[in-house]
Subunit: 332 residues, 2 copies
């Protein structure tokens, strides 16, 4: 295993030390492994929390800041954070307006966030709403998931709902918007290579040199099928077609993300975006905004995913609103 790490069992803790050093504008709680904005939640603003296993950076810690999250709870690599972490974050970011939990649909995350919400409500009287993202069209159930997995739409949702919370909307309205965004988004990913979890020390799965995994999960969970290695145009087709078959994206503007899994360089991601855009143009799918880069990754996995989100004027206005995080920044 070749990684820029020290002790494989200490990667998260040491990475958080680097986050704190690089971002004095954030507050890192090293004991609870929570990344907060540097300033307390403004009175009346709904608090936004997400979190999950580490190894998907910049998600979620890189999306803490003005216009996105108030806090991100970091679990060990590919391991859910604990209810204690989520409860603590909920207490800290609540300004009295309540807290929204943004949860990717993995069994551990869902269970732990549910428990945290119950504890925060029971012990501290905090109003908590939750949205569970489940945008991955690849498979219905998976290694750690009942139902569809939550993947790329989580990034777009955190941006859009974050802007709505900055506007001062109330908890019910923010939660309803979050559910509406999740319902309007679909994703599909693929891997050219496995990732390697530091504590395991070897690739999560074996993928022959002439094969690729279509529909892979962000922890290397099996996808739909393994198929012979193909060119970018064919890969794009195998990603875009299942998405378009699952939801009608015509007739209005959309936000598209071409996301890298962590080990694929930007020159390839742009090339892939060109292929995806051609297919969307041919299908009459209008792209109003796009992101190309590494936003929800799987450690060092080579590969990419495509996310489409049906937008409207409200969603585009929220998308364009100022955001100031390590992972996304504009308008400030």
């Amino acid at each position: 295993m070749k990684k820029l790490i020290n002790d494989p069992s200490n990667v998260l803790a040491e990475s958080l030390v680097g986050v704190a050093a690089a971002h004095p504008e954030l507050t890192v709680d090293h004991f609870n492994r929570i990344i907060y904005r540097g300033e307390k939640t403004r009175a009346g603003k709904v608090g936004l929390i997400s979190g999950g296993g580490s190894g998907h950076e910049p998600l979620h810690g890189g999306f803490v800041g003005l216009g996105m999250l108030d806090a991100a709870c970091a679990g060990e690599v590919f391991t859910s954070p604990t209810p204690d972490q989520m409860q603590e974050a909920t207490k800290v970011v609540d300004s009295g307006a309540g807290v929204l939990h943004i949860v990717k649909n993995y069994t551990g995350d869902v269970m732990n966030f549910e428990m945290a919400a119950e504890l925060a409500e029971a012990e501290s009287g905090i109003k908590v709403e939750s949205v569970v993202t489940n945008d991955d069209v690849a498979v219905e159930d998976s290694t750690w998931t009942a139902g569809r997995r939550g993947v790329g739409v989580t990034v777009l949702l955190e941006k859009i709902v974050g802007a709505a919370a900055e506007e001062g909307r109330d908890l019910t309205s923010v939660a309803d918007l979050a559910r509406r965004v999740n319902a309007a988004g679909r994703s599909m990913g693929m891997a050219l290579t496995s990732c390697t979890v530091p504590s395991a020390g070897k690739p999560t799965f074996d993928l022959p040199d002439d094969m690729m995994e279509m529909g892979v999960g962000i922890h290397g969970e099996p996808g739909r099928h393994r198929v012979p290695l193909a060119g970018a145009a064919e890969i794009a087709r195998q990603l875009v077609e299942p998405i378009l078959a699952d939801l009608d994206f015509t007739g209005g503007p959309n936000i598209v993300m071409l996301n890298g899994m962590g080990g694929s360089p930007l020159i390839e991601l742009y090339l892939m975006y060109g292929e995806v855009k051609k297919l969307l143009d041919a299908a009459g799918v209008e792209v109003a905004r796009n992101l190309v880069g590494n936003y929800i990754t799987s450690l060092d996995m080579a590969g990419c995913s495509v996310t489409l989100l049906k937008a409207d004027d409200e969603i585009l206005t929220l998308w364009d609103a100022p955001v100031n995080t390590a992972g996304l920044r504009w308008g400030v």
Copy 2:
């Protein structure tokens, strides 16, 4: 070779198609392979051009926009652009105030930019100044370089000098600043793995599983030495010590970049930054600003580099000035 590409000989052209699709705010000249800002250079503003072989993205095309470059000339992967490209870009971005060429010290780039400058001056009467970056402390001469290689400081220079050009400073002043920034910066890189050039189809060099290459160049050129694989703290020491031995960074503020080579995930880059910051603190080197991420890459190489730049109030003010590019964005 597992890559998100179609024809290995067509990677650059197809990636530029994706860049154009993703960034309607830019103008891509597909024939000449030049990325421009969407708007003509403002009258009186010095034009800033850089360029070089592709495979280092976001450098340089990702740094075209307000506050940084006016144009980037893209060569084939790891191959210098031609004088024709550079001459064309020089003509297009000149507003009458002259043009600065920002050139990384590789023999082909230096020769071709020199020829382009002479042609632009002789044929179009454009005033051209050049700065050649040479911040890599690893080796004195290298595979494609006489003298030191130009690496990470190029990113910081394009930002700082870009801000000075936006202020309306004249060509001599902008070029002098560029040379001052280059002289104040030092870098050192390392590789855990080779990169693979698409047209070659196999890794550029062989690196055993238990070895790493210290001082590697951004095209996989040999560094100082191969040493046994070590932990992040030891890697940081082997990168930072040669930099601090080469120039005194104490006694004032500095800008530090922890750069990924393209194949190392962000969780590792932050961990590395934490290690680098500890060493700088111990050495009494003040860090006023930092960047952590993939800024000057080597395709899919796993590894990282460290760049230090001695700053002062003027440089920090220029650093903080608005920038609006795909690769760096703040203040807008």
